[in-house]
Symmetry: D2
């Protein structure tokens, strides 16, 4: 692991356009689409904080979602840009919690806010410890400003 | 509306099989797939309590999701049956809250529990009153045993 | 394998309702949703012809999609029932082709027709032979009337 | 419409990362996910050729998919970048056909190739003419090199 040169970041952003398939017949983004965006925010957070989630899984571990909460404030629409802001709220030996905001990068308006709790599992779906070096790396990011 | 002969039901169930597309590379159902299942539970609840959500939207109204909370207890897998149990927790003039359990219909094991809050909007996305007859019909179901 | 008592079926049907999440802002079912339905037709075809696709994968094999063709004739809408009809067109030592129709079970109207080609892969994603007993079982279904 | 300063492009590219939700239990991208990517390629093609598809729909028209064909050559995986290349094959008074390649932007390997046919519909789902100025704009792009 060679991530010592990475500057830890508390909050990471990723921006993309709303896809047509993400809308529903209300003419706005379907509420389940945001869940996929939060996950993409989480992926980006890990990439910018040292190592990707793909590398985490390559160790035979995964971070399963144990709870999800999301509040919908304003609807996003096809074609517009959305920015997912993700930060690490808490990290424990076997669990983590991320917080999110999905915003309009132009107006700053908030589409949704939410959090997700995760539990570390091994490939047999048994609860497992987050490896020490990963936990240290992520704790540093959570503590940064 | 001819729903007087419908016996109101507090809790409604719908059962279907897990689709392959609903899994992810963890080998289990992706956490966003459950959100779609809850919605299907809600649709079934309305069908069995007098009128479908399609009819509700035909009035120029929609029930947008304003909050979603879901706890993941056990993972569902491809091909197995899952049962979504949905009940109406609360109904107000402009808002509703549904509660859910997704269970294994064979073992009774709980996969997820959750709730969703909804706000009634008109086609211009303005907050609107739930029409009196719909509210009466749904209140009766919420109060039933 | 104890499938000798299964009567092989050339064509198998599965019926379900359109989910809200499967629509898009055109007010109709998004074209990618049908792909998931075809897959569900394929799953049902296998279940009714002896053994499930889950059992096939339990052998360390998978049937990856190598080509997909779908023609959209009429749009399906939220809440209505759709029936997927699936039959096995061809089976070779390492490849299979399924054919499909998605219809309205009430009017008989055709929503889409299509086919999918599959190649048998092992867990290392190398092309593999379809095991003899599976191929025999499926060939019998393809040849039935 | 002020698109005269836009240089028409025969082929347009858009690059993004594979999302975790786009994988399935084979450990690779689910075959339906590519359909959504092709659509995103199409959206990008329009954006870079003068006006967005959102603007097209704002005219009370839509381009419904009438046929889709896709060949899967190699599997894409979570976290990697994929590039969708889209070009306009043909444009007629009421129909269009787009061609696609989904490639690995680093190695140039091809994941999938495909085409989609579209028919112009009005808001009542009646076949309609593509407006003259849109057709002229798009024909110019198709003819460019």
């Amino acid at each position: 692991m060679n991530s010592t040169h990475i500057k830890p970041k508390k909050t990471v952003e990723v921006t993309f356009r709303v896809r047509y398939a993400e809308t529903d017949q209300m003419g706005i983004v379907h509420h389940a689409s945001y869940i996929v965006w939060l996950e993409e925010g989480r992926s980006q957070w890990m990439r910018e904080n040292g190592r990707s989630y793909a590398e985490f899984e390559a160790n035979g571990l995964r971070l399963a979602v144990s709870e999800l909460n999301i509040r919908y404030k304003q609807a996003a629409c096809y074609d517009q840009h959305v920015t997912v802001r993700c930060h690490l709220d808490e990290i424990h030996s076997r669990q983590m919690q991320f917080g999110y905001e999905v915003i309009d990068p132009i107006t700053g308006d908030i589409f949704t806010t939410g959090y997700s709790k995760h539990i570390c599992l091994d490939i047999h779906n048994k609860v497992a410890r987050i490896p020490t070096e990963w936990r240290a790396m992520w704790s540093q990011a959570a503590a940064s400003t």
